[in-house]
């Protein structure tokens, strides 16, 4: 039974508010919107977390490898010359999406569970949920500027997902 109204309670304002808090405290960074021209290229690295229950969907952060490394370094307060292993970068970005997803979920009514984060890297084959699939329109999307590189934060509802998977 859904306690939610028909219109999605998840909008850009909510996601932006969550991202602001996460960026400021977890990454010690200011949120800068992406003002780049043209479409944003499909992300090489995607961290996503599912929401299941009265609301069903997916929260995804996508970016290039370099931005992921930067985000991980900021989160871990790594020294300038510290090289982070790929595992650590994935883990850190996974935790960022976990916290963003959890806080988006926290604003929802009803009972919704947060899954464990997963990381996808490399080119899409087309049968996974991916930004290259034109059909998938997120209910919320913001693109941030991480030191000159775009980072996308998107929220999809499960209906979108089904669209992409077929």
């Amino acid at each position: 039974m859904s306690l939610l109204p028909d219109t999605s309670p998840i909008d850009d304002e909510l996601v932006r508010a969550v991202v602001d808090q996460v960026w400021e405290s977890l990454l010690g960074a200011e949120v800068l919107p992406w003002y780049g021209e043209g479409p944003v290229a499909p992300a090489v690295l995607q961290a996503e977390v599912t929401l299941t229950g009265d609301w069903n969907g997916l929260v995804r952060i996508g970016c290039a490898q370099g931005a992921a490394e930067g985000i991980a370094a900021a989160m871990l307060m790594a020294g300038a010359d510290e090289v982070l292993a790929a595992e650590d970068v994935h883990d850190a970005v996974g935790e960022v999406v976990n916290v963003v997803g959890g806080n988006v979920k926290g604003a929802l009514l009803g009972d919704t569970a947060l899954g464990l984060p997963r990381i996808l890297t490399g080119p899409r084959t087309g049968d996974e949920v991916g930004p290259a699939t034109a059909a998938a329109e997120p209910v919320s999307r913001c693109v941030l500027d991480w030191h000159g590189v775009p980072v996308t934060v998107e929220v999809f509802t499960r209906e979108n997902e089904k669209e992409c998977r077929s």
Partner: protein, 127 residues
């Protein structure tokens, strides 16, 4: 003073452990509830356990219940450190026996504040 940090994210364990180490704690880590129970059973009893909720194998809420069931671990202070932030989830955790609850994202200051509330700020650092 000793602490146990339980979180499936290595990055988060590293962050929490660093804050606690800076405050004077000796920190042990575990990647899920099951591992945490093993660490508790095998070594010196910690004064504090910082516990994430969503973890594989055994989640944080289950861990809290199991720790509180064991009289040997009665004086381990349990603080959930989690992204679960609904009013009802916090109530659930407190009802299950968690002593405190820190919502992610948090700042080092807020973790310190919580420890202060719990009287678990090593006195050399307490202002």
């Amino acid at each position: 003073m000793r602490a146990l940090v339980v979180d499936d994210s290595r990055a988060m364990r590293r962050i929490v452990a660093r804050i606690l180490t800076d405050l004077g704690y000796e920190v042990a880590e575990a990647g899920d509830g099951q591992q945490a129970l093993e660490v508790l059973a095998s070594g010196a009893k910690p004064d504090l356990a910082c516990i994430d909720w969503n973890m594989p194998v055994m989640d944080g809420l289950t861990l809290v219940v199991k720790v509180r069931e064991n009289p040997q671990w009665r004086d381990v202070t349990l603080m959930m450190v989690t992204t679960e932030s609904e009013h009802s989830q916090i109530v659930r955790a407190l009802a299950a026996g968690a002593h405190e609850y820190l919502i992610k994202p948090f700042t080092p200051d807020s973790l310190r504040d919580k420890l202060d509330l719990l009287g678990l700020l090593p006195s050399a650092v307490a202002s």
